[in-house]
């Protein structure tokens, strides 16, 4: 009788332990998912920020004549010698729309297209917001789209803002909480002749 009770008690204890471990494992998995999504979004944000800063700071480098070819709130086309090798590149940035990204659970994300010369790269950073704002020499905002050369020549500073979200929900498949990073910066391309030192 005694050994029978021992077996029952040990089975119950094992069950409790197994459930606890399963619960702990579930929480750990959830935390790891959150961490991983956080890492992915923040790393993407850093990489995209560095790319934008690097490219936009070079706008107009070694370009004579019109340096920005068109400018809109979701895209820009400019000329710049990106590699400092006396070769002027035609660079375009254009935000896509949500239909361009179909493989993620996040219905709000869209790609960013970066085109240098004839090579276009679709960059799936997890963007859910991407906005470019333009300012003149006294930091008056220039309404977009900016189409005429006269208006384009007034651009002296460019503000870029974006938000990157994780492609999948953080907690569960049915959740709508996304790991997110927002970044914004006003870049003053030195080759647009705004600054004097």
């Amino acid at each position: 009788m005694s050994s029978f009770l021992d077996i029952i008690m040990s089975t119950i204890l094992f069950g409790i332990l197994a459930l606890t471990v399963a619960r702990v494992q579930s929480n750990i998995n959830s935390s790891m998912c959150q961490n991983q999504f956080s890492v992915v979004t923040q790393t993407n944000a850093v990489e995209l920020a560095r790319q934008i800063e690097s490219d936009f700071a070079k706008i107009g480098h070694r370009v004579s004549g019109q340096k920005i070819l068109w400018a809109d709130s979701t895209g820009i086309r400019f000329l710049a010698d990106l590699t400092n090798k006396s070769v002027v590149n035609d660079v375009r940035y254009l935000a896509g729309d949500t239909s361009h990204v179909k493989g993620t659970s996040n219905t709000g994300d869209f790609p960013l297209f970066r085109r240098v010369g004839s090579q276009t790269v679709q960059q799936n950073w997890g963007l859910t917001y991407f906005r470019i704002t333009y300012y003149d020499s006294v930091y008056n905002r220039i309404p977009t789209p900016i189409t005429t050369p006269g208006q384009i020549e007034r651009i002296r500073a460019i503000n870029v803002g974006f938000r990157i979200e994780s492609p999948e929900p953080v907690y569960s498949y049915y959740d709508t909480t996304w790991a997110a990073v927002t970044w914004e910066k006003t870049i003053i391309p030195r080759n647009l002749n705004n600054l004097n030192y």
Binding site: S10, V46, A49, H61, N84, R190, N191
Partner: protein
Amino acid sequence: MGRMSLFLVLGLSLAFGIIGFSMRGTTNYLVEAQTGYSKYIFARNLARTAIHTTLRAYDRSLPTIPTSGSFSGGSYVVQHSEIGDTLWITSTGMYADSTYTMKTKLLRTTKPFPQVSAAIGIRATPVKFSISGQAEVDGHNWDSTGTNLVGYGNVPGVATMKGSDSVTVTKAGGDIDGVPPVKVDTSTIDPLPFLDEYKLNADYVYNMSGVYNSASWGSSSNPAIVYCNAGDDTSFSIKFTGNVVGYGILVVKGNVQFNGNFSFYGLVVVDGFNTMVQFGAAGTPQVVGGVIVAGNAGASVMLKGTGSEAKIKYSSDALDKARRIGKLRYYSIIEWYE
């Protein structure tokens, strides 16, 4: 049963250990991504600081331009060269394991300057003008030391705004020389818009009325800005006597009297209300460069003297050196790569 429990505990410990290690790795990766961006930003700011530091060294005409420095835990190195007014600066900022390089080509430019197209340009009107003794105004173009004539670039001795003032100056007689000696020239620039900047950048400021002597302002290679605020009263509230030598730009708000061995090489601007400028009979005060007399109302210019040299000699070289005072220069970007 006991052995199974031991295996179970060991297995759980191993599983938790792996999970914990993995989580720490993820966190470390996140921190590295963030601190990496932070270091990159810091290195970039250091590179930019290096360019600013180099340009300020140029402004101050330092004999040696620093090629390295450190700031807040980071450091930078600078390479620079120049041909004429064009500068090439390559700066590299370094912070921890991040470096950032900027390559720039800049044009060193001078700001607008109140050019005077005569030895004395009188913008105020009406003018009272007297000249006596051995005082002389010479519009011929002298070198920056006032020693030798350049041979070209001669200007009028005195330029006035109105014909009636020109007649007044001509009637005063005296030794006024130039091409021509007296001329109506309405293009003499109003110096008023420039004065605030000169005041802000002044190397020497005299805010108290009084008599000043034994002063040395700048040098031929490093001219200075001197700002004197004498007020708008009608007495000689600023008076220079004794050995005063200056180079650059001298601004006097109000009335001024130059006496003794006063020598100034560059631009003298006298501005105020019913401004009175007097070169006294004592000593050999002189200005090599140009004088602008301006004001809200009339002006009185009185030149006396016992010295054998002219009181005011026009010198485009001296004016050009004043124009190129480091603090009054700025840098236009020709190329900027980062």
